[in-house]
């Protein structure tokens, strides 16, 4: 009886968004008389940072400080339509919609500023600090606040914009089976190292090394946060969690957090992550999406690592000690494979 180390690798190709009848999201942007901007969405921020990243996208597009943008979201009564927060689609779909809305709002803002400064809007630029000035003549300047006040109380204009981003449905060709389910793909590769106890069937995570290619990381800390947390979910789905059916029947299933197993802080392992940025042609500022895909490579990599460690190929999830032990017994003992 012994503990065996094994290493496994997996690579994934992850489509951003979904293809079930078309995949749209909408955004509305408007300025308040204070010169601050509100982004109206109904997309949900589950903690992944949707509010932060849409705020950044809006501020960057408008050319105003990020502090001047407020994102109002999560209520489908007050926000325009969104398909939802899933399929790693938030940054890509909602981000593009916000960008389109902010572009339209910026157009009105520049027209309103041009009227106040008595110049052509095409000659104006934003400084990113809350001012609009004539190109090459920074002293010919007006604050976005004063533009908002003039638009509201003098010109009678709404500084606002509408945006939608739609990836239309791609139907399957009945002859060839061909379709185009996504417009851009993220990629990842992960190496997992595990230690398998051939007496108990227990699998311990030793370390993970991964590389993710997810377009431009608009907020690198949020991307890192997603990847670290997502890998933990991957470990959880691989080794711990399941709802139904449960062995030998559903009455043995978990009923609460005491029985529904998830890894605790003592079960995690060091994880070194490399982020590769290859901007997507149709992403907002080149972004794809780091959401759901960050859990995906963990499962096959760990299954492969277990095979490498003890020679058993488990094809059911989660890979519980019982399943590992039964497979080792059926094989007549652990058969460590060549160390990779």
């Amino acid at each position: 009886m012994a503990k065996h180390r094994g290493r496994g690798i997996a690579s994934i190709n992850y489509p951003i968004g979904m293809n079930l009848g078309g995949d749209p999201s909408q955004a509305l942007v408007h300025s308040n008389p204070s010169g601050k901007f509100t982004v109206s969405l109904s997309s949900i921020d589950l903690g992944q940072g949707m509010k932060s990243v849409t705020r950044q996208i809006c501020a960057e597009t408008l050319g105003v400080p990020v502090e001047d943008v407020y994102v109002d979201t999560a209520d489908s009564d007050t926000g325009p339509h969104c398909m939802g927060s899933f399929a790693s689609r938030g940054t890509h779909r909602v981000g593009n919609a916000v960008m389109a809305a902010a572009k339209e709002a910026r157009g009105v803002m520049m027209e309103a500023a041009a009227e106040e400064l008595e110049v052509n809007a095409a000659d104006l630029e934003t400084d990113g600090r809350g001012n609009i000035h004539v190109k090459g003549a920074p002293h010919r300047s007006i604050s976005t606040k004063d533009v908002a006040i003039a638009a509201q109380f003098k010109q009678g204009k709404t500084i606002s914009g509408r945006g939608i981003f739609l990836v239309p449905l791609s139907d399957v060709d009945p002859e060839t089976g061909e379709m185009s389910p996504a417009t851009c793909y993220a990629h990842a590769c992960l190496v997992a190292e595990v230690e398998v106890d051939d007496e108990t069937g227990d699998v311990a995570m030793i370390r993970m090394d991964s590389a993710y290619e997810l377009g431009r990381a608009l907020n690198p800390r949020l991307v890192e946060q997603q990847l670290v947390g997502g890998a933990w979910m991957g470990i959880s789905h691989t080794l711990y969690e399941t709802t139904e059916p449960y062995y030998p029947d559903s009455s043995h299933g978990p009923r609460d957090f005491v029985e529904y197993l998830m890894p605790g802080p003592g079960d995690i392992c060091p994880h070194d992550i490399a982020v590769l940025e290859r901007p997507a042609a149709d992403g907002p500022f080149g972004a794809k999406g780091p959401g759901e895909m960050c859990a995906n490579p963990v499962l096959p990599a760990v299954a492969n690592a277990i095979f490498n460690a003890v020679g058993v190929r488990i094809d059911e999830l989660p890979i519980t000690p019982e399943r590992v032990l039964r497979a080792i017994k059926a094989q007549g003992g652990a058969q460590p494979q060549a160390r990779r």
Binding site: L46, G47, V228, G229, W232, M233, F257, V258, P265, I268
Partner: protein, 158 residues
């Protein structure tokens, strides 16, 4: 059922409430006092989201009878910050991106405070042990562990 008069200190302030027999501390805090910072996760001590300190000691409010708090001092996340200033642990959680959906965060912060109050310079293993009763769905724990260690490090330098 008759109600019991109950007095205790809640984040440094005296409070008096009437509770039914069997009322747990989590219900008393959330529904009778209006302090929503201790979270209801599982209601049976499996997740740690309701963690509070009673006389400085970490307790699961959902498994604690409200009457246990009589005459004692209960601290929740609501009492952590001083006026507009975040507690160093809260600041470290923010700096280290240690919260995503945020539901476990109040319990994590209280578990971390209980640790740092008795052991200002914990090892990584001690931090892991201290938060091992708290489940987090989003972060993978690593950022939380790093935040607690950072808060301890900041305190040592201050």
């Amino acid at each position: 059922m008759s109600k019991t008069a109950l007095q205790f200190r809640h984040n440094g302030r005296d409070v008096a409430i009437f509770v039914d027999g069997g009322t747990n501390l989590l219900v008393a805090l959330r529904e009778l006092i209006g302090d929503m910072t201790p979270k209801f996760g599982c209601g049976q001590g499996g997740c740690g989201a309701c963690s509070v300190l009673i006389d400085g000691e970490l307790h699961l409010a959902c498994l604690t009878l409200a009457e246990t708090a009589a005459g004692r001092s209960v601290e929740t996340l609501d009492g952590l910050k001083e006026g507009p200033n975040l507690h160093p642990l809260q600041r470290a959680f923010a700096d280290n991106f240690a919260a995503q959906c945020g539901y476990c965060t109040p319990g994590m912060l209280m578990a971390a405070k209980a640790l740092l109050d008795r052991n200002p310079q914990p090892s990584r293993a001690e931090v892991v042990e201290a938060i091992s009763g708290n489940i987090c769905r989003c972060t993978g724990y690593e950022p939380i562990i790093n935040a607690v260690l950072a808060a301890a490090g900041n305190r040592a330098r201050a």
